[in-house]
Symmetry: C2
Subunit: 157 residues, 2 copies
Amino acid sequence: MTVLPSAGSESDREMLAVALAEARAGLAEGGIPIGGALFAADGTLLGRGRNRRVQEDDPSIHGETDAFRKAGRQRSYRGTTMVTTLSPCWYCSGLIRQFGIGRLVIGESRTFTGGHDWLADDAGVEVVLLDDPDCVRMMTDFIAARPDLWNEDIGVD
Amino acid sequence: MTVLPSAGSESDREMLAVALAEARAGLAEGGIPIGGALFAADGTLLGRGRNRRVQEDDPSIHGETDAFRKAGRQRSYRGTTMVTTLSPCWYCSGLIRQFGIGRLVIGESRTFTGGHDWLADDAGVEVVLLDDPDCVRMMTDFIAARPDLWNEDIGVD
């Protein structure tokens, strides 16, 4: 099943703003502009983060894995929502599935589509795809400017 | 398709010994005994690592992600082999798929089965499942001793 874009709720858009601020901070640092944030069921922010491949020379830190890491050790991810500016790659989709993160809010999937349909179909994740124009513009500009770095980050050689 | 255990090659068993040494070092530190290593096509060790949830209070560092991180930024993973003492969870399976790691050598999948059949079927990864008795014993003992910590590490609540 292909997840179709929707307007989402006001709270979804507010959560996306946190991830987008992370992505923009990453861009200002010379990094890859992808941000993420993990929220508890009651809306509490558990962790926020951004891709740190360039900043920390670390290929294992994508926006979602950084948000997950910053949230620290949790006994359960029941009811949590992961928000990300870009459709999660297989690595980050696997994270969401393994830890039972039940909801995923995505800024856009025009510039890249990872595993979000798989999460919806095979793992029962509620996926909200926002098609946010600011997210689309940011990644479009970045990919045009730094195709080498972008391909490195998603393992395209 | 279910990947069946095999004896593997001598080089597979030598690579597993590196991951097993990492897992044992983690156990000695009070951590979760899962180790990994990433090798280039010519057999060069690129990175080795272990689960660091306890040691660094970091839920994002599994054996495979630590080995990947320790290998640093790579322009291509073509021809690489990921070796792990235990069947990779969805998070680590997603890593292998996203970065195009073509070969996976697994110590055992008796105590836990993650996404290795999916990698073989849907991502064309060559999977070697060794069914190593030392790996089985180590994880069996660990899970019996620390079921709470084990469940936390795989997101079972």
